[in-house]
């Protein structure tokens, strides 16, 4: 694996000589979801500001794709296009008087032609589900909408890496989950995502790599279960273990579950419990089916979605991504799951219920892969059906055709 961003012996002192970072060595791989966790003042934000050259290190260097960052004007433009940063406070980031102007700011300053600026900004706004908000002023938006606009402003510059400082702070739980899900979707599209957070449950659930920072240094690094199962490290860093880890440790101490390390989430925890208490046969009863409908293929409308619901014989529906949520709203169905959709549908399938997942075409493969992996690991079978829309121009055909994935 190649490192997309790397720090070597990175140090940074503030004007008064206090050290914010002291000798940080860190290599982040391309295409991963990375969470920086740590107490206030651990140096997370400082480190993030170094990744796109806003702060220049006092000692050491930052490398992007193996090349040290230059701090001249041209190199900085290059790195800031490739590594986009979303600030914690959206009001710091949204300085234009209307949504469109803000999103178009990056592309325009990269010197794109007017038509290209328009296309990129339009695409970014559509991606975050805010088409039609072009002329709204930022002070008429909710916190979640502001965050989406901030993300769109970065997205319009087509970065390879996106850095988000506390992306869920000050957002209500549903908005946070939607933002995190959008970050997942972007990651599926190949972007490397780096977030900082105090929310250990969020970091644990979302990140492939957790970097625990303390006093300007990297104190721990690894997968969520690796980092958070080290109780001493977590306590010293003024954090608390994620709920799943705590429950697992208590169950383990009472010998109610087996396993060598904490489960990755509720789904895994359920599996551990089932394996311990009913043997692997518990899950081989009749599992429910999961159907997937891509909302951006063949322009499904009301009829198609109703047909899909009937075809899937779904007890539950989940909408994943902003385009799916918009469609669900348009056709007047209230999805049961709007975040953590795949895991929740697997849990329902294990309980014998069928579900329909509405999502964008780009996420279909990811969904199938995730369910496939789970089935392989857990030794269960869940049938996954991909539904396709037939364009309404051919009324002789049924609105949908399904095909079974083995």
């Amino acid at each position: 694996m190649t490192a997309i961003l790397e720090c070597r012996d990175l140090s940074y002192n503030y004007g008064d000589g206090t050290a914010a970072l002291e000798g940080v060595d860190l290599a982040l791989e391309a295409g991963r979801k990375v969470a920086l966790v740590g107490p206030n003042g651990a140096g997370k934000s400082t480190l993030m500001l170094m990744f796109n050259g806003i702060l220049e290190p006092t000692r050491g260097e930052v490398l992007f794709r193996g090349r040290p960052l230059g701090y001249d004007r041209r190199s900085l433009r290059e790195i800031r296009r490739a590594v986009g940063m979303v600030f914690q406070n959206s009001d710091d980031q949204l300085f234009a008087p209307s949504v469109y102007q803000d999103v178009a700011f990056g592309p325009a300053n990269l010197g794109y032609a007017a038509e290209k600026v328009k296309r990129y900004a339009g695409f970014a706004l559509q991606y975050v589900g805010l088409s039609g908000y072009d002329r709204r002023p930022p002070h008429h938006l909710s916190g979640g909408e502001k965050k989406r606009v901030a993300i769109a402003g970065i997205l319009a510059m087509e970065p390879e890496v996106m850095i988000l400082d506390e992306p869920t702070s000050n957002l209500d739980p549903a908005s946070s989950e939607e933002i995190m899900e959008m970050l997942d979707e972007l990651n599926c599209g190949g972007k490397t995502m780096i977030i900082s957070t105090h929310d250990v449950d969020l970091a644990y659930r979302w990140a492939d790599d957790v970097v625990l920072m303390k006093d300007g240094r990297v104190a721990g690094r690894g997968s969520g279960p690796e980092v958070f199962s080290n109780a001493d490290l977590v306590r010293e860093a003024r954090l608390k273990p994620p709920l799943v880890v705590e429950v697992y440790q208590q169950l383990k101490a009472r010998e109610l579950v087996d396993g060598s390390r904490p489960p990755a989430g509720v789904l895994e925890l359920c599996r551990l419990l089932e394996q311990r208490w009913a043997g692997p046969t518990a899950c081989t009863g009749k599992t429910g089916r999961i159907s997937i409908l891509a909302v951006d293929e063949g322009e499904p409308g009301d009829a198609e979605v109703q047909a899909a619901l009937a075809e899937a014989r779904a007890d539950y529906t989940g909408a994943m991504g902003s385009s799916a949520k918009i469609l669900a709203q348009e056709v007047g169905i209230a999805p049961d799951f709007t975040y953590g959709v795949i895991d929740k549908c697997i849990l329902k399938a294990l309980a014998g219920k069928s579900s329909l997942i509405l999502t964008s075409g780009g996420m279909v493969q990811h969904t199938q892969k995730r369910i496939g992996e789970y089935c392989r690991d857990a030794g269960v079978e869940i049938s996954v059906v991909r539904l396709f829309c037939i364009p309404p121009s051919s009324p002789a055909h049924p609105a949908l055709s399904g095909h079974q994935k083995p």
Binding site: N52, I54, L76, R77, R80, R81, G84, M85, F87, N89, D91, D92, Q93, L94, F95, A96, P97, S98, Y100, Q101, A104, F105, G106, A108, N109, L110, G111, V117, D134, R135, R136, P137, P138, H139, H140, G153, I154, M157
Partner: protein
């Protein structure tokens, strides 16, 4: 939290009418009101634009009247002074104060009436514009009029951050009131001074963060201005022209009567 003109500008029934047309109506009405030497034309402008604002743009009448009250009270005060100060003509009203008789004569009375009419006409035109036209549309017009780019960019950012600081000022004020910062005139003055000081420091910091945010997105001297939206239909253009012609006719007729008298 706030009842802001800006909120109405973004949500009123005339929101999507061509901003150029609204600006043309508003500006020419203001010019006509303040340059008229008789009260009839400004009063005509005030009446017709108030009706347009309330009936066509569907701005609640109560809010509209509250807005008008503030400039009118100022105008009323100055008009009263003017009425007593100017002499000439028949005595209209005399206040029998022993030793210092106050009288309103015809000239003074007419001047006071003109002052109120002009204020009313001007304010109604301004409210018509600001209650129906969002600022971004006005920036777009500035651009099409080839105003200097730096002036437009600066105004756009000032506009954007007014609301950020308004929220902050409201929060600071609440924090002060919660701890009785408004008890007594001395406390109130002290609190207000502190609010101003804190707000100044915050705006300074915000400015620094703004620069970082701009450079983080490759700032190279470009802040796009929105294009103009919505062309005025021939019917709308005709209606606006008819209104302005009527206002001019009223002004002309009034001048004529004035001349004959």
């Amino acid at each position: 939290m706030h009842d802001l003109l800006d909120d109405y500008a973004h949500a009123n029934a005339l929101r999507n009418v061509s901003a150029r047309l609204k600006l043309a109506i508003g500006l020419s009405s203001i010019l006509l009101s303040v340059s008229s030497s008789t009260p009839e034309a400004p009063l005509f402008v005030a009446a017709s634009l108030s009706l347009a604002t309330i009936l066509l743009a569907k701005i609640p009448a109560r809010i509209y009247l509250q807005l008008l009250l503030l400039p009118l009270s100022f105008a009323g005060l100055s008009a009263a002074v003017v009425a007593f100060m100017h002499g000439g003509g028949d005595v209209l009203l005399a206040l029998p104060i022993p030793g210092y008789p106050l009288t309103i004569r015809e000239d003074g009375g007419l001047l006071a009436l003109l002052l109120i009419a002009r204020t009313l006409g001007g304010m109604c035109s301004l409210f018509f514009l600001s209650l129906t036209t969002p600022m971004i549309e006005i920036f777009a017009i500035f651009k099409s009029l080839h105003m200097p780019q730096s002036v437009i960019e600066l105004s756009m950012m000032i506009y954007r951050y007014i609301f950020v600081f308004l929220d902050q000022a409201a929060m600071i004020h609440s924090a002060q009131v919660m701890r009785l910062g408004d008890a007594g005139i001395k406390n109130r003055l002290h609190s207000f001074a502190m609010l101003c000081g804190v707000l100044f420091l915050r705006s300074w910091e915000q400015g620094e963060r703004l620069i970082v945010a701009m450079y983080a997105r490759c700032y190279d001297g470009k802040l796009e201005v929105m294009g103009l939206e919505g062309e005025a239909s021939p019917r709308q253009q005709a209606a606006a022209a008819a209104y302005l012609a009527a206002a001019l006719a009223v002004a002309g007729l009034a001048e004529g009567w004035g001349g004959q008298l």
